[in-house]
Amino acid sequence: MNWKELILGPRLTWQSLPHEWFTIGGTAFFFAMALVAVVIITRMKRWTWLWKEWLTSVDPKKIGIMYMIVAGFMLLRGGLDAIMIWLQQSLGASNMPGFLGAKHGYLTADHLQQIFTAHGNIMVFFVAMAFIFGLINFIVPLQIGARDLAFPFLNTLGFWLYIAGVIMVNMFFALGGEYAATGWLAVAPLQGKMFSPGVGVDYWIWSLQISGVGTTLAAINFIVTIIKMRAPGMTIWKMPLFTWGSLCSMLMAVTVFPLLTATLFLSFFDRYLGTHFFTITGGGDPMLYTSLIWMWGHPEVYILVLPAFGVFGEVVSTFSRKPIASYATAVLGMIGVSSLALSVWLHHFFTMGAGADVNAWFGLMSMVIAIPTALLMYAWIATLYKGKIRFTTPMLWFLGFVFTFTIGGLSGVMLGIPPVDFQLHNSLYLVAHFHSNVVGGVLFGIFAGVTFWFPKFAGFRLNERIGKNAFWFWIVGFCLSFIPMYILGLMGTTRRLDTYSASTGWQPLYITMLIGGLVIMVGVVLQLAQILASVIERKRLVDATGDPWNGRSVEWATASPPPDYNFTMTPVVTTRDAFWQMKQEGIKAPEYEDIQVVKNTAAGFWISVFAFTAGFGFVWEITWVWVASLVAIIVSIMVRSFTENTEYTLKASEVRAREEERLKVAPKAPSAEEADPANDMGVWDLVKWLVAFGLDFVRRKQWRKL
């Protein structure tokens, strides 16, 4: 072993630097973004503010917002991947010319495989999970009337581990040039070194591993918070549905994420240490990998969808102006889903050749789990019954979700029937099924939740007109992109193809999917426009009362955005729709009390930096880097655990002073007529506003101020 290898490890060479069009482009793009951010923050002298107020914050509301911002960017990144996949498949017919070294279309098989692997990982781990965690962070403590989480520091650690995972999943652009080409959950033995010798699979392992540990920690934190920190009077049967959904989801997460961690470790041992857990040689068993990864992978989908169910529970009840009509049914539905979620995973591999009894049993469980899901549907129907329904944007997302999720749910039950699954497994029918559920269930739930609680996040509601436009583009785009996918599956199209015979007649359907993807992209652009238009009109859209929708649970009892400590006075809960009840009885003037506040800490940030460098050392097999990083992690945890002064007391008089100060500067509520959503800016108004702004900017030479 020479010095160079001792320092750089056996894998890092000049060849690892970007030298293909997509790695150079990706790296340049990321560096350009980072440069713009650095310049803006420096010019605005915001570094200290950023570090002290946000990056080291232990406030779950701020962490929640950071989760959602990063998830939003990752949604754009993963969406771009989707368009690239569809474009390749539209061009991939065997009679089409190839560009850029591809046989047909513009992506080589290997490159396409990396893109859909990254697409899946980013959308599931770094978009859906992150949005869900963002919502839970912000809303659950408010909904249960708590001032903070049970373990505020653990929460920052979980968040920063997630960020480390985000960087790890994107780092192959700058170093290594390849991501895993194995499918989003990989398959053994393809993920082994025998078939995937490069760093791609190692990046895959470590981005999932690091963010997965963060998920486990966060799940523990939320379970304890929900169990232990509810407001006085809020028994477990008085919790709002979103909190219920989050609790069920987090209970599953804490059960199955260690499985993912273990599976990834075994994979890593196979690759780094040459063990034989999942290899085809030396007595390894690839089938074991399939089983283990799906034992985590199936519950993972329910982990994502249960909080989304919770969001819809809140949305339907609020906008029907009624309590959930059969609360026990809805809650039992959630509990049912989460307790059965761990007993269906084998339906992901009926085709591996288990006997009829085993297959039939897991088929049966897949039928049974549809029952609690149906219960939720009936609870929503009964809630709408005799309601007084407002068709706001969150409500539209709900109505869209009923359509898309039903399609996804029914096709899912069909795939749970072994004789049917033998004909459809790994076809595009399957891909269409889970996109119906994850896009049409989870993502629509997230959009509904973000729109619903946006006033709580920002102090002003989102533009309703452009929001509704975006919804229609999404739903039409959905029908154009995922219905053809079902049809293709029935035509015998398998997933992940870079090329196919032109005689199959698949190409027009692939092109339709691409068009659908572009329509969805217009929807996404409209959502960005929606946010921009809302910021422009923030004074008119302001939520001065903290209760813009005539809400029912106690998160609406505090200001929008809430103070650091959430509530000036801890709410006392007597009924299920506690805030609704308070409004009926008349809200009492606050009595101020001393509040324990947790100090900000950078420990989570630093531990995650070391976790990232450890992952980096493992990916590139640089011994000293990972050894040093592991030591640094242990030392940081020790230092943190001996830090005793982590809290301070905010005196009642200070709370009163801050509250009075807030009321003094609080924005005035616009008149009901002015605040009417019918007056919201339309897309065309936004364009006109932007043009006028731009002209004014140039005319008054405002760039000199920058």
Binding site: T182, V187, P286, K322, L375, I381, K386, K388, I389
Partner: protein, 305 residues
Amino acid sequence: MPKNTTRQRPGSLGRAIVLGAAAFTLFYAILIHGHNVAVLNPKGWVAQQQLNMNIFGSALLLAVALPTVALLYFFAWKYRESNTKATHDPQFQANSMFLVVAWGIPILFMSALSVVMWSETHRLVPQQPIASSAKPLTVEVVALRWKWLFIYPEQHIATVNFVEMPVNTPVTFELTADETPMSGFWIPNLGGMLYAMTGHINKLNLMATTPGDYQGSTSEIAGAGFADMKFTTRAASQGDFDYWAANSQQSPEVLNEAEYTRLLKPSEADPPKTYSSYEHGLYANVLMKYSKDMAGMHMSGMEMK
């Protein structure tokens, strides 16, 4: 900027949705017209049985889901804010009748589906030979990167990316793999799918009922060339099959050790090929290579870079 455009005009919205759905259906019908929708177009006994199960299940589920979803949309529509005629009961709580319906309907339908599913799963075990008066044919299948090798032990011939079988004769495909990740053996017109894995034999029983050429593929990602890991399945009359087999025995190509070593190397979009003979014990050797008792003996030369 007062705007009235967002005033809800539900009648036109309803029409737009119905028209849109009709347009979508017509559009997709045109797109698939004249093409092989393989799963709905069974040419074999197994595919037909699996399709029957699919149609039964889909119909049953739609029978319960369509009215449910329609009811939800109907209520959402009827109890809209602007409808002053609808009764509003802010205290409405579901009664016990609702509970009976909410639990009863899904349990009833899922039980019905489960009973059929259970018996069909046991009746349609892919590993189970198909009952028939015809003498069954065995084809040994080895998944390679990225091609399929078919060995006919009774006819003593072998083929690559092409398999011929007589109609109305049960065929047992004995699936395994060599130095290749898991592959999913799928001929959608004839019936679905089992995995081919190293060191294992998965027996997939199929029976063609209509002569014709049917596309087969792998359903599982297995590296760069897997999209072209396709083969043609020719279902022919017994006479045509016998003729083809006899003809194949005259092929100049033989599958000796050197040729098999060449096949083991990754290659993409291999054209169909026929061998008049193959190395004795080839299939058994492929299996033995991964036998756990033999671990280490055959493996030494196998770790690739």
